[in-house]
Every structure is written in C-alpha cells, then in structure tokens.
C-alpha cells in the first residue's frame, strides 16, 4: 500500500504545525481554491510506513554493493553525524561573513586538499554532481576558446567507453560529439583519435582509469596530440578512487576535471544523490571556474563571485552547491589524511584485482584479461545467452537472492553482457569471497537449472518487474480513481 492508500480524510498531526489563525487579507483571486491531495496520516503512520519502506532497499549499510563506476564504499557515520550538528544545519547560506567563518574555513581547506590530490591549481566547489562538473568543465573550455577568439571549435571528442553524462554534457554546452573507439586491449584507438583531431576540436573527455577498469597507458601521448591540435583535455573524475595519491590528472596533462565526492570521498549516495562534483583546473582555465569560490585573506574567509572573477563560466546553483555534502567530504578527507587517501587507492585496487583473479579462476571470462584491474574490472557473459539462455541481467537479478547487490550491467556499452565490478577498499576479504561463491553457485545453476536464474529474484519484496509496462502504461502519479490493485502482501 502506498501512503495515499493509508490516508484518511481529515487526519491531522497538529503538534507539528504552528497554530495559525487561518485567515488572510489577500484577495481571493490570488488564493488556492482546493486543497492539494497530500497524505493524511498520523506521525506514527508516516514513521511506520517509511521505516517499512526503507527495509525494502539494499544499501551499503546492509549489503555488499559492488556497483562498478559508483564506488560504493562505506559512508562513515561519524562524518554524517558531524555534518548534522545543529549549528551547521541552521546556518543560512546568506548569513553575514562574520557569522560564517567556521563553514567557510572548512570549504576553503577542502579546495586546497582537492587541488593537491588532483595536481591542479584552481578549484570551484560549485557543481552539484559529476554531470554538472562536466558541464562546468566543458563550459570553461568553451569560454577559454572563445576568449581567444577561436569560435570554430564546435566538436568534442568522447571515447565510446565513456559514461553517458560525458556526451550529454558536451551537447548541453553546445558541442557536437565525436565518438572515439577503443582497441581490444582497452586503450584508446590512437589512429581514430588522429583522424578525429582537427581545428574544430574543442577538447576531449576522458576517464582514467577508464570505465573499462584499465589505466589508459597512452595518456601522455593523447594529451600531447590533443594539445597540439589546439584542444583541451577534460578528466572525468568518477574513477579517481583508483589512483588517489598514485598519479594525478594534472600531471597526466589534463586541463580540467571534476571529482565525484559521493564516490571518492564517501559521501552517501542517498538513493540517488545528493552528490557533489567540484571542478579543478590548471592555470590556463582558472579564470573561467564557476562561482562562488571561497577565498581567504589574513585568516578571514569570504566568497568570490562574478564581480571578482568576470570571466567565470557563471553560477550553477542559487547558492554554493551542495554545501553540506562538501562538508562531509572535507571531514572524510581530514580523517583519512594524506596516507589514508593513498591507502584508499591501494586497497581498492587490491580488492579489485583479487576479485578479478578469483572470478577468472572460477571460469569467468574477463573483458581485458591481459590488464591489471584498476579499482574495478569487467567480466563478460557473452557466451551465456546462447549456452544457457541466461543473460547478464538475469545473473544480476539472481545475485540479489544471494544477498549481493548486482554489479553494473550493460555498461560500458561496448562490452557485451558485461558486469562492471567495483568492490571498493572498505569491503573485507570475507565479503569478496562470499561474492565469488555466489557467482560460482550461479554458474552452476546456469548449467543445471537455469530457470531459477531466469525467474530471479525470488527473495525480494517483488519479483521481476515489468519495465515495458512501466513505460507503455505510464503511471507516474497515484490517482484515487485507479482500479483497485491486487494485494498479495500478506502471507
């Protein structure tokens, strides 16, 4: 039952609401005429309903969650709790500076930390997730070219392995996208790159390690080529966890990048955000960073806006981005410190390589068997549909029955029937071993009783859902008039 089906007309929980006189002198024409249909439940009913709903989720706090490209590491509770201190929560974003030094110092120091780990010289915390960071970065590149009077560059290069946000962000910045293919070993096809580069090239977007789970070894050469063609390099920082303190985007030749703090810096993903996607850049692009930016003078912290940075690509939100997420990332980075960051990369990589080897030994096919795993790696079940009639999606669903969240499926698009697996550094050997055992068990099932996989999941609140119906008989908003649904929730 949904919360509306649990509602009763005129039910109230008035201790939460102020006692207003319920009168207004405003003219009737300006006023709402009919109440909105919102839930009418007691506080207990609401608490019970949403507590029960929460139990219908997998999460890091309850399950191993090796979702590739998503870095589902432990979200420390201490970080969350500190960020929820009443004094932090109550501060208004436009509070006067002298009543804001605590938070501004945190944000300033976070900027400095991000500069250091990325090898960049400028940072703006404004973008509210990775995709907005990409947009900001590409817009900075655009502003750079235009500032130089170079209006001809209207193409952005994006590898075929790239995350969907990359081409989408480039398009939102007004660019045409050219896809660059990947070679069989997982590195970029340099011939194709050469063919694509021209005076129309504004830049290229790259992830390294790529979404294929391998480190692009030719990166220095790629940077050289793109720069020589007059383009700039954008680094998609979604995979930064793999290389923290090992190699820095700035040192690899990238001009601008974003970081996914909700991945690398462990801010909780909240069932779909909020995240935070600060952009970092080198000197060349600093003038174009989005505002506001925190600056410091004589121990006083303050905000830079367009009046200080006239060339800025602009503002990305009403205030300063997802501030309390930034605060969480700051706290996490202070707990880790420099050694801790390096350790994150090391143990994330160790776990991924271990898992990769164990699965390979168990008979699973690696997409890039000759390569080291970075913090993640890909197995392909491309033989399974023919052999067993079982797809990667079926395996994903069956994993849920074994108490593991599924890896990322069908991404990157160029590897057929792929599972992109990222265990992260905070998972124990035991958790990895259990995953391997589940995979082996499913492999056995595929051979002996594929139906059990095809009909999975069996242990979740619902069985396989009808996605086609969801799209065809679009039902986005609950309406009372709808035909009564069949209730089968009771035993």
């Amino acid at each position: 039952m949904n919360i509306f089906e649990k509602s009763t007309p005129h039910r109230r929980a008035l201790m939460q609401a102020p006692r207003a006189s319920l009168k207004t002198a405003l003219p009737a024409a300006l006023l709402r005429q009919t109440p909105a249909q919102l839930p009418e439940v007691s506080e207990l009913q609401a608490v019970r309903h949403y507590t029960q709903l929460s139990q219908r989720n997998f999460s890091i706090d309850t399950h191993f969650y090796p979702l590739g490209s998503c870095t589902m590491k432990y979200n420390p509770r201490g970080v969350h709790k500190i960020a929820m201190l009443p004094d932090f929560l109550r501060r208004h974003p436009l509070a006067p500076l002298h009543e804001s030094q605590g938070i501004l110092q945190c944000l300033y120091e976070l900027q400095e930390i991000l500069k250091t780990v990325t090898g960049m010289s400028g940072v703006s915390l404004a973008p509210m997730a990775g995709a907005q960071g990409e947009f900001a970065g590409v817009a900075m590149i655009r502003a750079y070219h235009q500032a130089r009077g170079d209006f001809a560059r209207d193409e952005f290069l994006v590898p075929d392995a790239a995350h969907g946000t990359n081409p989408a962000s480039a398009v939102m910045c007004g660019y045409k996208v050219r896809e660059i293919p990947t070679k069989a070993d997982g590195d970029l096809d340099l011939n194709a790159l050469d063919a694509a580069l021209s005076s129309k090239t504004a830049g290229i977007m790259l992830t390294n390690p790529s979404t294929l789970g391998v480190f692009e070894k030719q990166i220095a050469l790629i940077a050289k080529k793109v720069h020589e063609a007059g383009g700039l390099l954008y680094y998609d920082g979604a995979n930064l966890n793999a290389i923290l303190g090992k190699v820095r985007p700035g040192d690899m030749g990238f001009d601008v990048m974003h970081l996914n703090l909700h991945k690398t810096f462990a801010t909780p993903h909240g069932g779909g955000g909020p995240g935070s996607g600060p952009v970092a850049c080198n000197d060349r692009l600093k003038p174009y960073l989005p505002v506001p930016i925190v600056d410091e003078k004589d121990g006083d912290y303050y905000l830079l806006d367009k009046s200080h940075l006239p060339h800025s690509m602009g503002r990305l939100s009403a205030f300063l981005g997802n501030t309390a997420i930034l605060l969480r990332a700051y706290i996490y980075s202070r707990i880790l410190g420099r050694e801790g960051m390096i350790r994150a990369a090391e143990f994330a990589t160790l776990n991924a390589n271990y898992l990769m080897h164990r699965l390979q030994k168990a008979g699973f096919e690696l997409a890039y068997p000759k390569r080291r795993a970075s913090h993640e790696f890909i197995i392909t079940l491309k033989t399974w549909p023919k052999q067993y009639g079982v797809s990667a999606m079926d395996v994903a669903k069956r994993l849920l029955d074994y108490g593991c969240h599924a890896p990322t499926t069908y991404f990157p698009l160029l590897v057929p029937e792929c599972l992109l697996i990222e265990p992260t550094e905070t998972e124990s050997k035991e958790a990895l071993d259990q995953f391997v055992e589940a995979m082996i068990a499913i492999q056995k099932e595929a051979k002996t009783s594929p139906d059990i996989i095809l009909n999975a999941p069996h242990t979740q609140p619902v069985r396989r859902l009808d996605d086609v119906k969801a799209a065809r008989q679009l039902d986005l908003v609950w309406r009372k008039a709808k035909p009564a649904e069949i209730h089968t929730e009771k035993v």
């Binding site: 024409a29 939100s317 801790g340 969801a470």
Partner: protein, 452 residues
C-alpha cells in the same frame, strides 16, 4: 587502517592469489613518468581520529552559531519534524545508490513515486520528476525543456520577469547560454514591485518560446499570475512557474494559473523539510503537463507490476536519459538529490496539506506583523506596495550595515541587504518571516531598530 578491514594476513593472501609481490605492483601499468612525485601530497595534513575531528568541527560549527534568522532570499528556515531526518537518515535510504536494480530498491522507488504524486498534487500539475539539483538549475532545465518542446515556435527567446531571484537568473544564464537561448528581462514596476501590464509593453520582443514567472517574486511580492499566464498563452508561449512550494498551500497553484494552467512548474524544494545547511543540499522540483513528459529531464518512477501481478515500482522512460540516449538525452543529469526528496516526502506526509497551510499562514501572518511593527518606527518604510507572502523589502533611513550589526549583537540576523544584488536599493533589507519566529522576536527586532 581507517575504514579498511585488511589484516596483514589478508593482504598476503590477496597478493598471493593475484600473484603480485606487493600492492605497488598493481599500479605497474601507470607510466613511471606520470607517478606522483614524492612529497606532492605533503600539503595535506595527516589523518585524524573521529574523536579529534569531532572536536575540531564542533568548535567550527559553534563559530557560526546565531540567533533568530530573518534572512530568506531563496532559502527558508521552517520547522522540520524530527521524524523526518531520523527516518531519512536510516542506512537503507542514506547509503543506497540510484535504484537501478528495481527489485532491491523498492523502498526508494515507492517513496519517489509517492513524492512525485505529492509534488504534482501540490503544484496542481499532472506529472513531476524525482528531483533536480536545486531550484535555480531546475529553472534552467525548465527553460531548456520549454524551448525544446515548442515544435511550432522556433524562437529561442525566453521572457523572464525582472522580479526573478538574481542568483537564479545568473544560473539559468550559465546553463542555457551555450545552447543559444536568450533571456529577455521584463523590467518590473518600481512602485508595485511586480510585473504589471505596463511592464510588458516595454519588452520589444513579440516572439518568445516561454515566459518565466516567479511566485512570490524575489521581493516577496505576489505576482498577478493569471494575467501573465493569459498574456503568454495568447502569444503561443509556454508558461514556466517558479514557485515557493510552501506558498502554494495558500496561493493559487500553477495548475490553475490563467485559463489552462502553467505548462511547467518548478522551484526549490528546500522549504519542504530541508535544513538551511549553508545552502545545500536542497533540491529542485520540476512538474509539467502530461503532454510534455517526454521532454522532462531527470529520473521518473513508474508504477508497474511484477511477474505475479503484484504492484512494484521502477525507473521509467529511461530513454530520455543520458545513460541510454547519451548525446541525445534531455539532460546530462545523473546523480540528483534523492535523499533530500526522501526527507521532503516524509515531511509532507507528516504535515499533510493542512500542516503546510498552517505553516504558510503563520509565515504570512508574521510577515504582516513585522511590516506593521517595523513600519511604525519612524524612518522605516515599505518599498513596494503589492501584497507580500512572507518576505518584504523595507527601507531604512540609516545605513543598513549599522542596523545589521546592531541586530547581530542582539542575536538577530536581520535580513538580506538588497543592495548586494540591486544597487539601486542600497538601504533596503529583504526580510523574511516564517512560523519559526515569535511575536516576541519581531518585537525584539523592532526594539533594536528603534534604539538606533
């Protein structure tokens, strides 16, 4: 090691299985020349224990402690029932990813579906998405969406009320400019503080894809939304309503504007259960008419059934999104503001419409009381004459800095200095009231001003 469970034995076993001599060997594909130079990370301090960071950050938080808040200007302090974040912070909501595996994410999915229903109902619109980053970027997406969906109107001009929040305007511009979309500002009436019919005459742009109407507007004043909606619809343009969702418990909802309602409604969901927290995370909501649903950016949750015919929920119309459609997606948005929406859904459930209405009325009542109390002080007067919801612009005959400092000393954050964004209103404050202040707080404010 902080958060890392590996014992020495574990490390050895893992390396043996891999066949690597040490962890460093796992990074051997990275060209040596690119590797981090020794000492590069030195500027970052060594790690701290949770105990140490808790003390440090508690001290910093205390630095920003303050008294009663009369600042609004786009972020509003309302009471949030404790149950809201106590439940929203449950690990299962907090630490889940985007619900790609629907069967293992029914909690988040059903909640988002319920949220979509609540928000659509509150706005009087047919559909709602499951969130965008914040109110300002949601407005930018609304503009992109409006232009995109105007098949019979090729204009890339969008009319924008001059009473729009200036930071919203800046944000929209940063985002839509690259696509060649131009915002045309409608100057506001200096007397009314709103867009009047006279203002429309001076625009000099007859072809436009959409109009953008804030309600209440940046000055707290209530726009004549019916008139503006009819005006735009008559020109074949779409109407984008930017509204404060709490105000919609009292003022006419977008779905009822003009004759056929606004086409798109958006805004900041912050007043619905999200703490001020220095500016975020908030969330942007975006609702529209059913006809526009395929142009709607962001996640959508649909109700469907499972193999047994049992009700379930799943992400739907994913073909609009970047992870499927890539460069042809309606937007690049991926991670959005799920947790904030989670809190909002719980918030609306606990308050119900009556609760929200009480909040709206109390905020409005306090606004009336504040105007009455402060304008009774010689030298304080209203700047605009249109009725206000819960914010108002007042002019002081003293330098704003003096007033604000005195208030600050007395434990009051007096408001937003309008001169910061509108140079011509130098000695003016934009002052906000909600249900959070008491009559005593307002009197205290007045006492400080009187004593200057």
């Amino acid at each position: 090691m902080p958060y890392i469970p590996h014992t020495d034995d574990d490390v050895n076993t893992l390396l043996e299985t891999i066949g690597a001599a040490n962890i460093e060997a796992l990074f051997d594909e990275i060209p040596a020349a690119l590797r981090v130079k020794a000492g590069s990370l030195e500027p970052i301090a060594a790690g701290m224990s949770e105990m140490e960071i808790t003390r440090l950050l508690s001290e910093r938080a205390a630095l920003d402690k303050r008294g009663v808040c009369f600042i609004g200007a786009g972020a509003y302090e309302h009471h949030i029932p404790a149950a809201v974040w106590e439940v929203a912070s449950r690990g299962e909501f907090l630490t889940a990813y985007t619900p790609y595996q629907a069967e293992a994410s029914q909690g988040t999915l059903q909640l988002l579906y319920e949220y979509q229903t609540m928000m659509a109902n509150l706005m009087g619109m047919e559909v709602s998405n499951a969130s965008l980053y914040d109110g300002a970027s949601a407005l930018a997406e609304a503009v992109l969406m409006a232009v995109r969906s105007q098949r019979h109107n090729a204009s890339r001009h969008v009319l924008c009320a001059g009473t729009l929040h200036p930071y919203y305007r800046e944000t929209v511009q940063s985002i839509v400019n690259a696509q060649g979309i131009q915002l045309i500002e409608i100057p506001f009436c200096k007397k009314a503080g709103t867009i009047t019919s006279d203002c429309l005459k001076s625009i000099g742009c007859d072809e436009f894809a959409a109009i953008l109407i804030p309600q209440p507007n940046f000055f707290g004043a209530i726009e004549d939304v019916d008139f503006l909606t009819r005006f735009a619809h008559a020109k074949g343009a779409l109407v984008i309503a930017l509204v404060n969702p709490i105000a919609m418990a009292l003022l006419k909802e977008p779905g009822q504007w003009g004759d056929t309602g606004a086409d798109i409604a958006c805004g900041s969901g912050q007043p619905l259960g999200i703490p001020l927290a220095s500016g975020g995370p908030y969330y942007g909501f975006l609702c529209c008419k059913q006809a526009l649903v395929r142009q709607l950016p962001g996640r959508l949750i649909g109700r469907t059934t499972d193999k047994d015919g049992k009700t379930g929920y799943a992400l739907t119309l994913q073909a609009r999104e970047q992870h499927i459609r890539r460069s042809k997606a309606t937007s690049n948005i991926c991670t959005n503001q799920g947790l904030a929406v989670t809190a909002s859904a719980i918030h609306m459930s606990i308050l119900g419409f009556d609760g929200l209405r009480n909040v709206a009325l109390a905020s409005h009542e306090h606004n009336q009381l504040l105007i009455k109390t402060l304008t009774a002080i010689p030298g304080v007067k209203r700047v605009f004459e249109t009725p206000t919801f819960h914010e108002v612009v007042l002019h002081f005959d003293k330098p704003i800095k003096t007033a604000l400092n005195a208030l600050s000393q007395a434990g009051v954050q007096g408001g937003f200095p309008l001169g910061n964004t509108h140079a011509e209103y130098e000695n003016c404050l934009l002052i906000c009231t909600t249900e959070m202040q008491t009559a005593g707080d307002i009197q205290h404010y007045a006492d400080v001003i009187s004593s200057l």
